[in-house]
Assembly symmetry: C2
C-alpha cells in the first residue's frame, strides 16, 4: 500500500531539484535493490544515509524473505503492480523500488603526495549511461576516489544509478571545482594525466604509481581552462576510421593499461 | 512535405519485422545523416544500398546546401518540425531523418588461415547501446570483420545505429551461426580467444597476429555450446569489487591490449 503523497514524492525524484531538496533518490530493480540492502546492512556505503522504504510486489517479498528479515530497520511496503508502475522510472517496471536518503560527500580533502592510486577525474560527462559505466569501471579496477566537475550529470539520476550496476554504493564521485583540485595536484607535484587527441600514445607513456587521470566531455574533451594543469597528455592511438572513442571505453582502456 | 503513407511507413520501421520486410532502416540526427551522405557519395558503404529520401527542416537544408547539392541522386524533402516529430524515434527530434535501404550481408566466406586481423565475434549481445559502441570500437581499431550470433540485437535498431556514431556505415556485422563459424576456425587452426571469468589474465596471454575474439552475452557470457571451440580463455583481472565489466568496455580493453 502506498499513499498518494508518497507516490507524488517518489515521482518528484525524477527531477534533480527535488532529489537535491530532499537528499533523496530512487533505486530500482531486483539486482540493484538487493545490492543496496546488503551494503546497507553492512553499513559500508559511502552514499546511503538511510533507506526510507522499499516498495515491492508480494512476489518479491516472498522470494527475498531472508533478506527482508535481516534488515530490521528498513520499512518494506507491499504494493500492487499498478502502484509500482506509478512510482517506477523504468519502461518495464520491475518488482521493487527503494527510496534512499543520501550522504553528502564530505568536503574535499587536499591532495597530498604520494597518493594510493590513480584517482579518476571527470570533466563535464553528460551522458548518464557513461557516468554509470565509468563508476563501474572504477569499481572493477579498485579505484576508490573519483572527482566530477559540478557540471557532470547528476549521480542520482536514475539512469546513472542503473548503469553502475551497484558500484555506486561502493564508490561515489565527489562533485567539485576541478580547477582548484588540479591546481592542488600541481602544487604537490602529483602527475595529472589527461586523455586528449594528439597526446603521447598511451603504451609509450610512463605512468608513475599514482596520479590523477582526467577524462573529458563526450563531445568537447577536456576544457581549455583545465588543460594547463595537465602534466602529461596521453592518447589511445586510432588504427581505423572512427572519429572518436566513447568516454567510458576510453576510461576502461586507460585504466587497463595503467593497472594490468 | 511528407505524405501520410510515407509517415506510416517510416513509423513502421521502428519494428524489426518491417525493417526486414523492406530491407530498410532509419538514420537520424545531423551528424549521422551527414556521415551517411558522405559515405554514400563515395559509394564505400558495406551497408547502404540506396537512400530513399532525406526529410529535413528548412534550416538544415539551408545549412547543408553544399552537401545537398553534391548528392544528385538523393531525394531531399523539406518537412516542418511537427512532421519531423512524427517520424522521429528520438525523444528530442533532430533536424533530419533519412530512410535507407540496406544491402544484405553476403554469404559467409569460409575462414582461411592466415587471417589479416583479430576478427570480432559477438555472442548474443542484447543491448543496442552495447552493439553500437562495439561497432565503433572495431572501427577505431581498424577491425574490418565482425560476426554476430543470429540472436544478437538487430543492427538496424535505431539505438544501435545511433550508438555507432557513423561507424556502422564502414563496418557492419555479419549475422551467422557461430557454431559453424567457430568450427571452421578450429579446422583451420585459427586461434579462438574467448573472454571469460576464470580465464588466463589477458596481459599474460600470448596473442597470435590473428584470430577470432569472442565476446559473450551481457549477463550470461559465452554460451556453453561455443565454449568448446575456444582455444584460449582470457580474462580481464578484477582488482576491485564490481561484479562484472560491461561487454563493450571488455571489448575495448581486449582490443587495446592486443593491438596497441
Amino acid at each position: 500500500m502506498i499513499s498518494k503523497n508518497q507516490t507524488k514524492f517518489i515521482q518528484s525524484l525524477k527531477l534533480k531539484k527535488y532529489r537535491q531538496k530532499n537528499s533523496a533518490f530512487v533505486v530500482e530493480g531486483e539486482k540493484m535493490v538487493k545490492e543496496l540492502l546488503m551494503i546497507y546492512r553492512q553499513a559500508t556505503s559511502f552514499v546511503v544515509e538511510q533507506i526510507d522504504a522499499v516498495y515491492a510486489t508480494k512476489e518479491w517479498l516472498a522470494e527475498e524473505v531472508a533478506l527482508v528479515n535481516s534488515c530490521h530497520d528498513v520499512l518494506f511496503e507491499e504494493v500492487t503492480k499498478g502502484e509500482l508502475a506509478k512510482i517506477s522510472q523504468l519502461k518495464t517496471p520491475n518488482k521493487v523500488v527503494a527510496v534512499v536518503r543520501y550522504l553528502h560527500s564530505k568536503n574535499i580533502t587536499p591532495l597530498v603526495a604520494p597518493l594510493q592510486e590513480h584517482i579518476l577525474v571527470l570533466d563535464h560527462i553528460q551522458d548518464p549511461g557513461n557516468l554509470g559505466t565509468i563508476i563501474r569501471i572504477a569499481d572493477w579496477f579498485g579505484i576508490k576516489r573519483l572527482y566530477c566537475s559540478t557540471d557532470c550529470v547528476d549521480l542520482f539520476n536514475a539512469k546513472v544509478i542503473q548503469a553502475t550496476m551497484g558500484s555506486v554504493f561502493r564508490i561515489a564521485p565527489i562533485y567539485t571545482n576541478l580547477e582548484l583540485l588540479l591546481s592542488q595536484a600541481q602544487l604537490q607535484g602529483i602527475p595529472v594525466y589527461g586523455a586528449m587527441l594528439g597526446g603521447e600514445p598511451i603504451k609509450k607513456s610512463v605512468f608513475k604509481e599514482y596520479g590523477l587521470v582526467v577524462i573529458g566531455n563526450e563531445g568537447g574533451g577536456i576544457r581549455t581552462s583545465l588543460q594547463t594543469y595537465l602534466s602529461h597528455k596521453i592518447t589511445i592511438p586510432r588504427l581505423g576510421e572512427a572519429e572518436s572513442l566513447n568516454a567510458a571505453i576510453a576510461t576502461g582502456i586507460i585504466y587497463a593499461i595503467i593497472n594490468l
